[in-house]
Symmetry: C2
Subunit: 399 residues, 2 copies
């Protein structure tokens, strides 16, 4: 267990009709002028946004509405949101939606509390290093998709043209997340599946670490998230309305990315960085991209830390250990993970992804070169340091 700080101050408000508590928790923050941010899609058409706005207004809060968030939220709308907040003296941001809406809110919050250009927090400009935020507007969430964990995480991902960039900082953590599992019961199977992959991926990035042993507690916490997803996915395939499975997946979403499963571990995050370029290029859903990238990454890097991948195969995927041929056990574990992803209706190869298909080698190289580097030598990842050429091989394995 490595030295670390763990902080997760987000209040989770869980249960049927939990959204009725939204005005109360905004009042608790001492705020009264609320921007309600959403994607103008199902959450608006279903009447949820209007219902929340009515609740806030009944409580005497001032509300301004801003819809239009798209998957992989765009910088342009963030800039518009910053202007709207300033014009209306907004003091609280309420995201009604999933990861994209929450991240758009987080970026707006950073921008409102900053004199410069909000993109300074996401990318270098003319050799000037990225800015580090020190404050934001307070944010609350009414969660409608269990997936990104953004409702309790410090991370914020925004897309500008074909650049998908992130800003991780504790000021991004929402004050509260309203988690009513019923709000996720009408999600189509594809969104449910992508969400489950995303939830698993946040603990997988932390589970596969460069440390050798000694993480008994967080190993088991990660495995708790994995097993919950493996248990709930088939229940939801059979019956998308199953309240208990929806509730478990929803809370797993928050706990998988609030830092809990990474206490004392060095997360790898290479699969995420690689997938960010894939969805930046092809605009695929993040979870669907991960279902393709993660197995390819596992196949490429497992020889660096066989014991970790053996633990995953046996303790999570239920493979019987063949200690004479541990490599067979590991490979069977990866195969079963792919089978699980496919059982939810997701492709596990680039060529099977709608809108992607066979990817030209030059596109792979372009995406690989664009991956944001982590280490000074230009590589990413901790289980194995990955350079541009390694990332191209992972794309090839995913083909």
């Amino acid at each position: 267990m490595e030295a670390c700080t763990f902080l997760s101050p987000t209040r989770l408000v869980i249960g049927r009709d939990a959204e009725a508590q939204t005005p109360h928790w905004i009042r608790q923050e001492g705020c009264s002028r609320v921007l309600v941010h959403h994607d103008s899609g199902y959450v608006k058409q279903s009447g949820l946004v209007d219902r929340i706005i009515a609740l806030l207004r009944e409580d005497g809060l001032t509300v301004v509405e801003l819809g239009g968030v798209v998957p992989n939220p765009r910088l342009a709308l963030v800039r518009e949101g910053i202007c709207v907040c300033r014009e209306n003296q907004i003091d609280f941001l309420l995201a009604v939606g999933g990861g994209s809406v929450i991240d758009s809110c987080k970026a707006i919050g950073l921008g409102v509390a900053y004199d410069g250009d909000v993109w300074d927090f996401f990318a270098e400009k003319d050799g000037v290093p990225m800015a580090v935020p020190t404050r934001s507007l307070p944010i609350g969430v009414v969660l409608t998709i269990a997936a990104t964990g953004s409702e309790a995480s410090n991370s914020c991902v925004v897309t500008n043209g074909d650049l998908k960039r992130f800003c991780d900082n504790d000021v991004n953590r929402p004050r509260f997340a309203i988690e009513n599992p019923l709000l996720t019961c009408s999600l189509p199977p594809f969104q449910t599946a992508c969400g489950i992959v995303d939830i698993m991926s946040h603990s997988m990035e932390r589970y596969f670490t460069c440390e050798e042993g000694g993480n008994y507690l967080t190993d088991a916490l990660c495995e708790a998230v994995f097993r919950t997803c493996l248990t709930c996915a088939p229940i939801l395939r059979e019956n998308p309305q199953n309240y208990q499975a929806r509730a478990n997946v929803m809370v797993a979403s928050s706990l998988s990315h609030n830092g809990l499963t990474g206490i004392g571990r060095t997360g790898d995050w290479a699969s995420h960085f690689i997938e960010h370029e894939l969805s930046g290029e092809f605009d695929v859903t993040h979870g669907a991209g991960l279902a393709v990238i993660i197995p390819a990454w596992m196949r490429y890097v497992w020889p660096e830390r066989p014991n970790l991948f053996l633990a995953f195969a046996t303790r999570v995927m239920g493979v019987e250990a063949d200690m004479d041929h541990p490599e067979l056990t590991i490979q069977e574990g990866i195969r079963r993970l792919e089978d699980f992803f496919r059982s939810m209706g997701l492709p596990t190869r680039l060529r099977d992804m709608p809108g992607v298909g066979r990817v030209d080698e030059r596109i792979m190289e372009k995406m690989a070169r664009r991956v944001r580097t982590v280490h000074a030598d230009g590589s990413i990842g901790w289980v194995k340091r990955l350079y541009t050429k390694d990332i191209v091989v992972i794309f090839q394995l995913a083909q």
Copy 2:
């Protein structure tokens, strides 16, 4: 998964020399006048308290020291602490120690922020119901024993004469907990063992719930805590200095009682209430008392929820399920838990406890009658409603 709110805002600062960050995190709270509270025991003699005080003073903070906390912390010292804080305009409370010191700090914080008598928060007086706190002084912890989880919990237990009473409230949650596993390496085996029982007990109280199924995630989170304790205890028996095992137990302490493992569940807490009377009567260490009460409670209540106890036996204690005779599997699980407690050097019967021995039936009845009731009908517990006569039977089973 039942409706609930989960909040755990305590920052965990984990690692070797983590205590060097103490002044920084006090400054972050905007505070400058610190009461350093401790038990005048090993933490003082080892030089730790003086080292912390020197760190704070080097940073320009004003420090007042108050030692003398005893196990099952006493109301008299709490009252003294409240006076000391008022006389010295203290704005931050720093507990250097374990659960007793932290709880004494919490009670002092409640008292300083309240005009009336602090005991109002812990007991009815002349028919006036208990007061509910709305604020406290900010509290930080330098943790030296992994056990009670008080460093991240909302609970505070104080003893007044032979009355041991609690006040659970979110205002009690510390702002930060400094967790340097090296500070626990010199704990004697008895304290280590009592701590491990206490840590397990906080998730056991939540694991054994009145709900039937559907808690996939928190079942697995509880089991993660149990397995971490089962793994680390023998390592620490062999080598009390093992850093990784100390670190895992320390973080398990915080996560087992910050509410995480109880998300969406109704905790039982009968064993704790019964043990509180045992340690109120005989002044035994809380964890040692639990090692006696928990198995007796399990033997008495398991027929109410056999599936839960079967899951515990098979998934935690590693008993192979005999589905023709599940009661044998359950009983074997309880036996193995007792074996585990004994393997750490703890008695699992009242008659074997130093300072207790054979307990007279009238003393059992006196303790049973004194248990603070939970339900309107005078009973406690959720797995099975326990009345005075049931509690006497549990004491008899523990004899």
